[in-house]
Symmetry: C2
Subunit: 214 residues, 2 copies
DNA sequence: TATTTGGTGTGACAATTGTCACTTTAAATT
DNA sequence: AATTTAAAGTGACAATTGTCACACCAAATA
């Protein structure tokens, strides 16, 4: 199992090399061999083309080309490349991009002790995400439905109204669906908007899709 | 490492037990011990309470209580339970639910050879998703492939307008941002709404979050 | 050159929308 | 029983919004 490590901190790169090669001690496991280390996205792209490793372990924040862009570049010409991100950050944007471009893993450096196992799993065709990363997935996937309506003093009817607005219904339609007068819908709307500090129903719909059901 | 297997097919359960215990042969690895096997969600819940295993490997489609519901039940009283789904299906709804309830893994039975590694990874705090499963994640997360504005004859300016509406801006604010008159914004809006067969800006915002940038 | 096309703009208009003050009613609290 | 509270409704009002007919102009096209 041939691995390339790319991290802009040489000390980190070396540590990872040690961890990886130490983690391949057992006879029954495939041996892990770190065939090269790089220190930037540019270098990572070149090293991949040169060595075609089984796995590339890569940092995200790097000088010239960041890990995400480098991975995109690599995958564009090597569709089945195994790229495993190892980084300090759980930034949602990073996770999102990593998933979309088809990374085989996303592990935090604080969990790097599990890196050998992760690499083995990836080589077996699995994909590995560190726990801190997967904690974010439900939110990224939407409807963790954990929005705290109570914190804003939003009542049940108001909640219903929000959902109907987010379906694009007019006040009249909402009134009909909720069996209340159109005027009451207006009052409810007014109440919701002021509680959430929004201006109109369109902002409410946006708020819904961004904050409540992202 | 104490494991419980829950699968409504006893033959599968037994096979998994063999695979798991065979996969823990190496001295340096923690030994895997299958302390019990169950054949239904109900049984799974009881067995978990009884043994408090390190990992529970569970099928999803089962007779009385399905795996998802059983896991929800278990997690409600054991917040840090490690539950790993092993199933035949990549149904998006299952994956979604599994992620939301905080499962530590979702592996297809066809990939069960990697189960020992997966269990070890989970015990190290990682979360493991089989490749077929993760293939679905980008879609579940909202596809990166962009909405086909051309198919609806939406122009560049109209595209800009859509994004600003989806930010909750008023016509006046949009006019200011786009350096055009408010009347023109109205005309653009009218054009967009008719092209997309929508009624008002709120429906446009909903459309944006549901169809364009889900 | 003449014509079409598309983007931009204006003004008028009706409908929808959000706010406000106030009433009514029912339930909860004293 | 008396009071308070909350939900529901009404009507008036101004602002915003969407539609439409029409005008202007520059670039492309015939």
């Amino acid at each position: 199992m041939r691995v390339i490590i790319v991290d802009d901190d040489p000390i980190v790169a070396m540590s990872l090399k040690v961890i990886l090669e130490a983690g391949s001690g057992n006879a029954s496991d495939e041996k892990i061999e770190v065939v090269a280390t790089g220190s930037s996205g540019r270098e990572g792209i070149d090293l991949y083309a040169q060595h075609k490793p089984d796995i590339m372990v890569m940092d995200i924040r790097m000088d010239d080309i960041n890990g995400i862009d480098a991975a995109t570049e690599i995958l564009s010409s090597n569709k089945d490349a195994n790229i495993l991100f190892l980084t300090t950050f759980t930034d949602d944007e990073y996770i999102n991009k990593a998933l979309k471009l088809g990374a085989k893993g996303y592990i935090l450096k604080q969990d790097c002790a599990g890196l050998p196992e992760a690499c083995k799993a990836v080589c077996k065709g699995q994909i590995v995400y560190g726990s801190k990363v997967v904690e974010r997935l439900p939110d990224l996937l939407g409807r963790s439905s954990s929005f705290d309506f109570d914190a804003y003093g939003i009542t049940d009817k108001e909640q219903t109204l929000i959902e109907l607005v987010a379906d694009g219904l007019s006040n009249k339609e909402i009134a009909s669906k909720m069996f209340i007068a159109e005027g009451t819908v207006r009052n409810l709307m007014s109440s919701v908007l002021s509680k959430l500090d929004l201006r109109d129903r369109t902002q409410l719909a946006c708020f819904y899709y961004q904050q409540i059901k992202p």
